[in-house]
């Protein structure tokens, strides 16, 4: 048990920034640039960690709670989810609700920290972020319900367990394909990627997530970036598991398959980011309502 927890956390802590590097490299290749080195996110984190804090006098403890909760939540969430063929370290009935709302908690604290600075600008970013994620939440829950009704179980360990490979064969493949698409959209929204938000933009009016962390500096910003990278990895782990439900039985091979899947997904995100433009703000709720309907439709197909 302790061994499994350590292994899972070590995996998460070591490999989390790597997909970001792969995404940036893919985007650079598409643009015909050389691009930053693959390990640039690690260098950035190390650089931020050596810097000092600048904290505004108007802020309270909430301002610091944002980054801390943002860092801790993905670590907790990762314990509930099986990474590839590994079994989940902690598993109990109904933990999928906890999984979804742990991210809700971190979002609440990030938004609260943004509001704590008293800047109207950051308040606007917080409002947008909360709106989008409340539209993305039903998609996530319905997709998990599809998996749950296929697995006849309510804990994440079983949902993403060995039975997933069987489901691809016995006629549920259509709904699994649909929720893969729906969850991919959730992944893009939750991690503020293009077409929903641009992680690189510094044009003030278009920022959504970026604007909320404007006032954080040094190690606090590093914690936010690290937390975001881990969140990306945890949510990608679900998608990788749905797409590649193979189970070899040997720990090493399962790990290698999982990591390869993770990098492939990062390349896919990079391709989406380089071939699509950002959506207009009013179009985003439309798309998210569409994916919600898609996941409900997948549920109908399963229950039929």
């Amino acid at each position: 048990m302790i061994g499994r927890i350590t292994l899972q956390l070590a995996l998460l802590l070591i490999f989390a920034p790597l997909p970001l590097g792969v995404i940036n490299k893919t985007k650079a290749l598409f643009a015909g640039r050389v691009g930053p080195p693959l390990l640039q996110p690690y260098y950035d984190l190390a650089r931020l960690w050596r810097k000092g804090f600048v904290i505004s006098r108007t802020t309270t403890w909430v301002f610091l709670a944002g980054p801390v909760v943002g860092l801790v939540v993905p670590l907790l969430a990762a314990l509930l989810l099986p990474f590839g063929g590994l079994t989940a370290p902690i598993s109990f009935t109904g933990d999928l609700i906890l999984f979804v709302y742990l991210f809700g908690l971190s979002r609440f604290f990030t938004a609260a920290a943004a509001l704590d600075t008293g800047s109207s600008f950051e308040g606007m970013g917080a409002a947008r972020e909360v709106t989008f994620s409340c539209l993305a939440e039903p998609t996530l829950l319905f997709s998990l319900l599809v998996l749950a009704s296929g697995a006849k179980s309510l804990n994440l360990g079983a949902l993403f367990g060995p039975q997933l490979a069987g489901q691809w064969q016995n006629g549920n493949s259509a709904s699994l394909g649909l929720i893969f698409v729906a969850l991919f959209v959730v992944l893009l929204v939750e991690n503020s990627r293009i077409p929903f938000d641009d992680p690189n933009t510094h044009l003030e009016l278009t920022m959504v997530h970026e604007v909320m962390v404007l006032d954080h500096s040094g190690p606090a910003l590093g914690m936010i970036l690290y937390g975001a990278a881990m969140k990306l990895m945890v949510l990608s782990a679900m998608l990788v598991r749905i797409a590649v439900p193979a189970q070899t039985g040997s720990l090493l091979f399962d790990l290698l398959i999982f990591l390869a899947g993770l990098l492939m997904l990062a390349v896919l995100i990079g391709i989406v980011e380089s071939t699509m433009a950002r959506l207009q703000l009013p179009r985003i709720p439309q798309v998210l309502v569409g994916t919600t309907l898609l996941s409900i439709f997948a549920l109908i197909l399963v229950l039929r």
């Binding site: 259509a174 649909l178 569409g290 309907l293 439709f297 109908i300 039929r304």
Partner: protein, 209 residues
């Protein structure tokens, strides 16, 4: 194979219901028609009847009619459906509700035993209802033509279940009717645009000297 095709057909229904750009809508309906051309082959195997039906559907629904429509919108210079009677998100939700309804309703229909489990009947009903929705909710005459095409696609799916029993002549007649219908509509659209300088059908209710 057939189930995958039908699933993509339903997804294209949603896409067309939610899209404002006319070119995207036309491409969606064209792709739907082209996919439906594969359906007789996937259902009945490569018999002469299925091959003829598939080739006819591909030529007319997948290539000829979409090209005709694209040419029309180039001539009348409209790009998007600006203000539908019901907004895009509500029509999308309505479209989803009728699709769900079609799936539930199809289970109660007194069908032949071998048609009970498949996706054919619910997909056909859902596509017909989505076509109706587009016909009802959109203002532009050209989008209404698209709704009519989608409606016919739904009927086509239903017909495939019976295509062993229907003579080839009847199906060829249906396809020809469709072609002539869209052809005439294309010409009328041009005339309407020339006379009224707009393709909004609600303007047509007013009398003009």
């Amino acid at each position: 194979m057939a189930n995958l095709l039908l699933l993509i057909v339903i997804l294209i229904n949603f896409y067309t219901l939610g899209s404002a750009r006319l070119v995207a809508c036309i491409r969606g309906v064209a792709l739907q028609g082209a996919l439906l051309a594969l359906l007789p082959l996937a259902t009945h195997g490569p018999t002469g009847h299925a091959l003829f039906l598939g080739a006819g559907a591909l030529l007319l629904k997948g290539i000829f009619i979409p090209l005709l429509l694209l040419r029309t919108i180039r001539q009348v210079r409209i790009r998007r459906e600006v203000e539908p009677f019901i907004g895009f998100v509500p029509t999308l939700i309505l479209g989803f509700l009728v699709t769900a309804g079609a799936f539930i309703f199809a289970d109660f229909l007194p069908l032949a035993y071998e048609h009970h489990e498949g996706l054919y009947v619910p997909t056909s009903l859902a596509t017909m209802f989505s076509g109706f929705l587009i016909l009802i909710t959109r203002r532009k005459a050209i989008t209404q033509v698209l709704g009519y095409l989608m409606l016919e696609n739904g009927i086509f799916i239903f017909g495939i279940l019976l295509s062993a029993a229907i003579p080839l002549m009847v199906e060829a007649g249906i396809l020809l009717d469709l072609l002539v219908g869209v052809f005439v509509m294309g010409i009328i659209l041009n005339q309407i645009n020339r006379e009224f300088s707009s393709l909004n059908t609600d303007r047509l209710t007013a009398l003009k000297e």
